[in-house]
Structure formats: C-alpha cells, structure tokens
C-alpha cells in the first residue's frame, strides 16, 4: 500500500464527518484540476475552535486530509490553526505519495478560507 496504516485508519474510520447545523463558519473549496472538494464547518467558543466537521469528495488523500485536519482543529485557537501547514497534515497521515500533495494543499486552502471568514466576522 502506498499509504500508511494511520492513513488507512482515517479512510476506514473518518473522524468528524458531517456538517455543524450551528456552524459559525463554513468554507468549501475545490481543486479545479481534478475536481476534489472539501467542505469544512467550524464552531467557535471565544478564541477556541470548539467543533470541526468535514465533507469531502475526491481521491483518498483528500478524504484523509479532511479527517486528520478536523481532528487537529478541535480544541485549537484560531492562531494555532493558522499555523497548520501541508507538511503537518502529511506528517500526521504518515506521509503521502508526492503526486498526492494536492490533497494536503486543498485542505490547507479550505482552512485558510475558513480563517479569513472568521476574521471577517470578527472585524
């Protein structure tokens, strides 16, 4: 398998699947090249991200990135979340084949969009 055990576990048992009816922010991004799509909804309590959910369509790493990202996000502050990188996601999944890097990129892009939305709401 080109994928790690951790990765496969995320595929078999994705964490935080779904949408938050009470979400404070929702962001959805697509990769125009391959059509992959990630939807993120977050609830905030003050500085803290109190809940995170995802929906994803696309190749396996896109699903796994959604799962691992939401797992990371819950309990983080907005600023901590802003520091998550593609490398963090890749590492948390036990590595990704080079040609699948676009999945981590899409996840970070969606996260950034959500953070921009948070900032917008706050200002």
């Amino acid at each position: 398998m080109p994928y790690s055990e951790t990765f496969k576990d995320h595929l078999a048992h994705p964490r935080h699947v779904g949408e938050l009816p009470e979400a404070d922010v929702v962001a959805e991004e697509t990769n125009p090249v391959c059509g992959d799509r990630l939807r993120l909804s977050l609830c905030l309590k003050g500085e803290l991200i109190s809940a995170a959910r995802f929906l994803a369509y696309g190749c396996a790493p896109t699903l796994a990135c959604g799962s691992v990202l939401t797992e990371m996000l819950e309990g983080m502050t907005r600023d901590e979340a802003a520091h998550i990188t593609r490398a963090d996601l890749t590492r948390a999944l036990g590595g990704l084949p080079a040609r699948k890097g676009h999945a981590a990129a899409l996840a970070i892009e969606t996260l950034r969009a959500a953070l921009v939305e948070i900032d917008k709401q706050r200002s």
Binding site: K8, A12, V17, E28, G35, A56, Y57, C59, L63
Partner: protein, 409 residues
Amino acid sequence: MRRVYLDHSATTPVDPRVVEAMLPYLTEIYGNASSVHHFGQEARAAVDRARHEVAALIGARPNETVFLSGGTEANNLAIRGIAEAAEQHGRHIITSQIEHSAVRGVCDALEKRGWEVTRLPVYDDGIVRVEDVIEALRDDTVLVTVMLANNEIGTIQPVAEIGRLVRERRAAGHRHLWLHTDAVQAAGRIPVGVEALGCDLLSLSAHKLYAPKGVGALYVRRGVRLVTQNVGGHQERERRAGTESVASIVAFGVAAELARTELDARAEHVRRLRDRFERGVAQSIEDVVFNGDAARRLPHLSNISFRYIEGEGLLINLDLQGIAVSTGSACSSGSLEPSPVIRALGRNDELARGSIRFSFGKDNTEEDVDYMLEVLPRAVENLRRLSPLYQRAQAERAACETQPVVAGN
C-alpha cells in the same frame, strides 16, 4: 482476514499445474535455447512445445507466434513494427478511444512523428461501429488496431467484422492495410481464433491466463512483414532478439493449453458469479451505473460507477476488508485523470472517477460474492456520508419530496 481477489483483469494467480510444469526449467533444465548442445536443445524443445500450445489457443501456426515479454511489448512491436515497415505506403492509423495504454502510447508517439491517427468513438455501450471504421479508412491507412475486449469494461469489439472489411479492401487493391487486435483480456475468456477474426496481428499476455507475469506473444500472420524492434540475436526468427525466457514460456504454453481445454467451464463459472454479483448490487445499492454493453462483454468482468464518490477511497476501504478490486486499468493508477475509457462512454467526470472494476476468476466462489455483497453496500454508504455531492443530492431530493404537489395533476 478473509481475502477475496476480484482483480483478475489486472493479473491472475499462477495455476499450480503451471508452476509444476515450469519448475524443472528453473532447476535441472537450464540450457539457453540457442545453444547447440544437449542442454540447449532440451530448452529449445520445450520452447517449441509451448509455441504449439500458444498457437493452438488462437488457431494459429506455431511459426506465426513470436514470444516476447508481455502484452505491452506485443502491442509495441505490432504497431511500431507495421508502421515502420509500411511507412512508404501511408502514414495513417485507425484505432479506438478505449485501447490499452500501450496501444494508445504507441499511437501517440507515432502521431508526434507525423503520423495521422483516427481514434474511433465507442458510444455509450463501449463498442466501436464498423461503419465508423469504413468512414475512417483512407488510401494511406496502413493499420487498423482495435482491441478484441476492453480491459476496463470488458466490452467485446466487432473485430471479426472489421477483419472482413479489411480483407475486402485488400482484395480490392488496398494491399498495405493490416489489422491488429489486442486480445490480452479476451484470450482464455472467450474463444479467440485468428481465422475467424481475420486479423493479421494479435497480442497475448500470459499473466492474464494463470501464467507468470513478464511473458507474452504476438501472432504475426504468415507473409506480414514487420520491422523488428528489439534487435540482436537470431531468436524468434529474427522478429524479437533476446535469450528466450524458457521457464516462463513453458508456463505460458501449459497455461494456454489449460485455457483452451477449460475455456467453456471457466467462462460459465465466472459468468454465474458475475451475474449474481451484479443482481446483488442492483438490489442493494442506489445510484449505480453499470458500464459497458451488458451482453457483448467478457463473462468475468463488471464495471460499476458509484455516484457521488470516488473510486480510490472505495478501493482502499474494500482492501481493508480483504477485497481486491481496481479503479480503471491497473496500469494507469498513479495518474490523476478520470478513466478515459469511462469518459469515452459519454459519462461525466464524476461517474468516471467513481468507477470500479470487479473481475472474477476461476477460483472465486459464491461465498466470495456473498462476502462482497455484504461489504460493498456498507462501504459505499460510509463514503457517501462523507461526500458533499451526496449530501447536496439528498438535500435536493428531500426538498423535492416536501414540495407541495402541483394542484390539478
């Protein structure tokens, strides 16, 4: 964990009878078939026997059968060999939109070198039309290459009709027109006869019929001249140089013999399993699309698009439960593109990305199918729960259902 292998179009396990037959050629009988001495002649005799068996599988003569390293090389040699030999008569090739990557690759390479390539459509049933071949034929056409059965959706192409057409044209004076067919997926699964097909060249690969990977054959009809690609020694009547892969060739021979004698029984067995599987899927999973003509299709193969999800995630989920299937052609995994074969059926990208190939083999059982039918619906359901496309579609459906019925209807 229970393991269910449903990827026989990617490769097949080697039949134990085949292993047994080849083993002596990995141990005590080790001569080089080109050597004049005893050790060499034992090897030569074994290669000759295998050549008879492989030829018999397709109704050819032994000396029309060239051994080489697999189906990919067979396709390369056939197309490039004819193209280079017939170049002065024309530089136009007719092929289809659903060929294996080897045929596609050689045609693309020739196109870059100034050849013209017509790629015939296959419509929503995945089948080439003879009328389209007629329309595409030009005076400078030197080769028609259309596969006998497709590796992703299993559709069987009208090669015999194309063969008749090519022979008619040749009789009418179009002398340098040849027909090649890639029979890698068809051989051992449906009857394949070079006379009935009327083809001039035909590709085979051993590992699709219960022999090892890395050996294949190209049928070259007597009198057809092609330019050798792998040059060097005098092996294979100068058509393909390189020390013969004796043990693998012996294995191929035995596997070809078994494929010929057991063809009907194997076909019936896999067809029963495949049909049972497809009925089960139709009953238990919504929003699926069966790809490829239902009737004109290899008996062992089923290709299904699961709406709203992508194939790779499903493949991995099945794999985690011991089930091996594939998304599109095994050869093109690693590419980000949706399957060109499913797209050629006129399906959108989503359906092309959501397609999975299930390919049965002679050793699969009804229990395998039952296990599959237990695991698959749940796996599809779990992935759809993740899918924003599915959620949206569900929401729309719910909206429709709650919409007030228009009065007066």
